[in-house]
Symmetry: D2
Subunit: 440 residues, 4 copies
């Protein structure tokens, strides 16, 4: 975790105190169930919760100090709790293993993290949606291979992003379900020393599903899927970030990351307004993605369990979720406040002297009875002049003045072929598909 | 694609002929829709299908020869079709771009591949299920960290694998839906020159969904999710393969990959029966996983499209699906025919002189009123002797002979504590969770 | 391997016939050494080489047919050789294992591949060098964050690429040495049945080093380093490819991939000249990089050997080397024939009305005794006007007309500050560092 | 960075204070050079160093507070220094950009990190070497595919590791050189406002090479190579860690991670001594490797620079070096104190009743004039009995009793074939190759 790329709510999930609170809840709920089953006295469960109601501070250094002696984190925690709860605490953890606590806790943390990320996605989707409808009909050039192709609208770009992040949300919901399980199954997962009903009770209390079959550990294919999904979301962030970076290039400048009126772009060069937020998002996407491969490598644990996954998860658990949370929020801010320059979009689109309409003229000539070969030759001889003039000449003017063309298509017909609206006529269709409605 | 790791049905999907057949269907269905909309004559669509009904051979070298001239694969194909269909073929592809054909075709290929993989998973699940019930109560030692822990059953190992591959199946179904889309939206995806109803028609005919918003290309987050899912499945394959490799080690030998009675293990050493299939699966898992990162890197295409994804997909499309298909089938064979040695499992489990029951004796002493500290000391002084004898001594015998222990627990009581069934009492619970029923 | 991204010389290395030829040489050289040591008759070695001198065709299908029976590739090959050489062939392979042949062969293939790649790098370096000196003093705007910064030259861009690929070459030379080893050490690598002098002889004949300690297999950290190095080279290819893609954007158009005068950019749109080669290179870089992680995962083989690396290498061995060879050659072609547009570079550089010189004016005012704060304000008030005019106004003109500025700096002084050469004065220094000489 | 997997010396490199100290040195050395060139007064450089000699504490919170206002880390630092040094500080940083400071600092940090890692490797090599000579002739079974093959020695295993980590050291030395460069070249790297001699001076003072051509940033192929090398080293760590994990398995138990006599393996089960350190190393190897792909993705920065690499390096810079340092030290401890059980090795080796010598008997029969087919049959009929007895029968006894065998090979001859030393006769050769000497 790098502090400058983190936000407090997500970071809090991964702090030692938060982890210990989850551990307590797992232990206390389990003790409740054990008491109901008659395995331990009801007084034991009561003692735990009574203490908890006093809202005790979690003394992390004290627990760490015990761990330094016991070399075992869960035992250290239980010892510390026992110091405060007293004699009754000895009934805690009966028949359980450390993995029951650790793995269930990790899944609680990941589902909490997923909830924040889902809220992040909702905020991002709201921002994208607003900008989409705002610029639904703002024309801009569509580019393939970085080269002008034909007109689109800025709203369509946003609609694409909206659809993409909607898919990301659906995937994250599925990934959250994948890790939302609870295992309280004892050594090697056989329930030899703990009744499966304890697991059911704790799972219900924590809002988790029961892990159908655990082997002391919760199987890591679940976590692999979770982190792979975060990697896909990060890649979608990168895509939109790269779009902004391209649009802000000096020669393009169709949109810019926001900066306040009085802000200095650079101490020396007033023309410098750099897309540093989206460049940063490009890097953060790489960071989040880097969790995917180790998560995949974590799946093949040996036999009923080995502990090799643990160190990996101490890194990627916090890093991937905290960084993705930060990145989603940053992207939301970028989109929300993005400076959009419709005039520049129009200017760029027109910089090629109308060449972007050449395909439509070609089709019109064909429909007017000219052979495809002749049509192509007619358009090309004029288009090439425009191209060579770097857009100083107008394709429309040249076509009007070309006898071969004008014999087939009158000026009014030609002008109609240069109509932008032709390209925008199905924007409503796309918006209806993406947003459910065509007009906000 | 490496021939020795491929099977014909999956390989066929990726052969040029198969691709051209899909291209034809996309074009012909689109022509149908264009004819219904009055954009092209009904005779054009009819001419295409009439020719198709003759079941023409796809002359791949002829198409390649045209491509060598046109430098464009889709134009080469259309030209070749036109040579056979005649004049009416000129109405094909009207208002479409190559991407409409290429991207929709890729998604048809991926969904076909997914269907094979789903069938593979069903076969694997069936094999695992059969072995699970066969060995539901075959005791074997559970191992954590490669070290004996407490008893499980071989059926439980299979149940875990069954649950894991069931999850993989659900994930693949979701991933298949992610790539099961069709885009026929023309240049930069605006439908300027093609009616969205054409897309709807083609999608319906091909069993795909309509891509809500394409930008000439189908967004690559879909494919990233698909390949990431294949990577997770590959990792689960690795897990089960590694389990078999461990079980087949000379010192363990609780299970073995099948080999026929007359088969030679090695030309020189009769004791060599190597787990080469599962070692191979471990390697193939790495191969499939290697598709994940480039698929993620493919997401951030520039603006409405760039072509950088294409070369990547020419590798990972066939390689990941063909290799995973082969690996799933190989794993199915391994599990189906796995030689399982219950006697050896029992022998291994008992090689530590009953130490695996030490925890239960400890609990029993505690319940008999001995303090935890004293209980631990009593068990440990005997356990250590067993440990030092490398299992030659019996923990049960030593405990019976220990006055401190025998004062609290009689011989019958002690013997009961060494009961394997204690560890197996919840196998039914787990089987009911995993398979829906506890007994096949 | 995807045929369209392959070249024959590199592909030939990985064809079965080439592999069998290397196998033969390993076996025959080993037989020579065994004969010299008196382990086998000299006639055995002679028989092998006599047959080889007849330049026998390698009958791959025949060998495959034998393998289909023996299930063992090396035995199949030895059998086929014996069928042609006769009785004397039985002395071949004495004391050796299949791994001796397979691993040494792989390293021969990788070193041959490295030699081709090194030649590729030389060709690329030559092309870059030529363009570097050609455009050593062609001014172009330097861009940070995609935003105009200060002038550089196109030659400097090439010099950077030259330095980068020179480093790549040095790395590849090191990586080649890492895999240029020979192991002929028998089962588990102990030389129990084969004298180490055989290994020394074969290594010398094949131009390889002796593997100091093998464990039946050659350790895979060597190959991991090799493929990691290919991944770094691929990333450098991506960097230069992305540079070209940016320069070819419609709004920038400072350079373009070559296309012949009569070539059609697009059948419909004459303005479309897409940087498809460099987009392709971007994708191929992802493909080559995807070999790195599985190569790293191949290192941790179990004990003296397992076979999990083998399937991985059947993919990444050919794929990574063939694709990188193709990519280097393609990039060489792109650079060699790149259309470079100095006028457009100048036009783009000047499109901001001289703002790129603002920093130097600021420094000059400071040196003329104005406080830094006042200097900044003076420059900024004029720069902002230029910025708002989108470069229609000239910063130089405005500064001349600004009384505060002109009081300190005369017109001639101001004009001198707008001198491009100021930025180019150390191009010679850089060229001397990179190329050893400043002028070609 | 995860505290429990970190060591103070390496962590210190990445702390803010250390970074600021390096920044100061870069700035102060540059000021020296600028003074020598007459660009700034000598008093400016003197003032900086005079203050530095007072060993001022670096007030990180104060600098952070300034950054919170300036939004620029280098400016914040310079401001803080100026507050302490006074007026003369304004000459600092003249003609430089932030990248000059940041990139040179990163390379100083990476070379310092490399120096620690090189020392770590030396310590590891020393430990491995010691154990290698200690167990140079300790026989143990060599395993291929996890199956007993033929004898090796534990010293040979160590020799292999020694050779592998020696290669890692050589690679790290090369990778260190790759990042040991200094760039002080100003905006877009042209030296327009700073003389190249400043760079030369600073480089010399910091023990770095001059970056031949920078583009404001130091090219990231250097760092990609560095992190790729760390990934290879991590994979070699994994290999040795996996070896220990295998050897410690209950059924194998030929070696164990150290635990002190009084230590508790588990609170409940005295037979539990888990290889948790090497399992941890397996996970940490995944963590270090995860830095490789993002480092490769960082290479293709846009034009003269973008900032996307920066966030990635804030993670992988500390994480990869700190984790690798910790892992190397942990592995050194594991090897240094590894409990090695030669008796158990011998017991395991002999558990197959002498089958491991079957190949040699086969060869001896052949040399005694029996056809290969008959020899094989003779050996096999006896070997199979041994195999079926699970090693209870002795191959040597059976062969002596087999008339067909004893007709050719007398008892003494047969006994000689079961001689372990036959397999160990070239251990000296290997040791001489690896360590330079055969006997320590």
């Amino acid at each position: 975790m790098v502090p400058r790329y983190s936000r407090p709510q997500m970071t809090a999930i991964w702090e030692p105190e938060a982890r210990f609170r989850i551990w307590f809840e797992i232990e206390a709920h389990a003790t409740d169930a054990l008491a109901d089953l008659g395995v331990v006295p009801q007084s034991a469960a009561k003692a735990l919760w009574d203490w908890w109601k006093t809202q005790p501070a979690i003394d992390v250094p004290a627990i760490d100090a015990i761990e330094a002696v016991t070399k075992h984190d869960v035992i250290a925690f239980l010892t510390w709790v026992a110091e405060h709860v007293g004699e009754e605490a000895r009934f805690m953890h009966q028949g359980m293993t450390s993995s029951d606590v650790l793995d269930t806790c990790l899944n609680v943390q990941l589902t909490k993290a997923a909830d924040i990320l889902l809220a992040d996605l909702d905020a991002l989707l709201a921002a994208i949606r607003r900008r989409a409808f705002e610029h639904k009909l703002t024309p801009t050039i569509g580019r393939s291979h970085g080269i002008h192709a034909e007109p689109v609208t800025f709203g369509l770009k946003m609609a694409e992003a909206y659809a993409e992040f909607s898919r990301c949300k659906a995937r994250l919901i599925a990934a959250r379900a994948d890790v939302a399980t609870c295992a309280i199954s004892g050594a090697v997962g056989t329930f030899a020393n703990i009744d499966p009903r304890v697991e059911e009770h704790v799972a219900a209390k924590l809002g988790l599903s029961v892990e159908p079959v655990s082997t002391q550990v919760i199987p890591r294919d679940r976590h692999a899927m979770f982190f792979a999904t975060l990697g896909v979301i990060a890649s979608s962030i990168e895509r939109l970030a790269v779009e902004v970076r391209h649009l802000q290039r000096t020669e393009v400048l169709e949109a810019e990351e926001y900066f306040s009126p009085g802000q200095k772009g650079s101490s020396a060069m007033p023309h410098k307004r750099n897309p540093v937020l989206t460049e940063n998002l490009t890097g953060l996407a790489r960071v989040v993605r880097s969790a995917v491969v180790p998560a995949l490598e974590n799946v093949a644990l040996w036999h009923e369990r080995d502990i090799s996954h643990s160190s990996v998860e101490r890194f990627i658990g916090p890093d991937a979720t905290i960084t993705l949370d930060f990145a989603l929020a940053r992207l939301t801010g970028v989109i929300d406040k993005l400076l959009v320059y419709p005039e520049r979009m129009m200017k760029n689109m027109n910089r090629m002297g109308g060449l972007i309409h050449s395909q439509r003229v070609l089709l019109a000539l064909t429909q007017a009875g000219v052979s495809r070969e002749d049509s192509y030759a007619m358009v090309q001889r004029n288009a090439m002049k425009v191209w060579e003039s770097d857009g100083a000449l107008s394709l429309l003017d040249l076509l009007k003045a070309d006898p071969g063309v004008s014999a087939r298509l009158g000026n009014a017909e030609l002008e109609a072929l240069f109509d932008l609206d032709y390209h925008l006529k199905h924007v409503d269709t796309v918006f209806a598909r993406v947003f459910g409605i065509a007009t906000a």
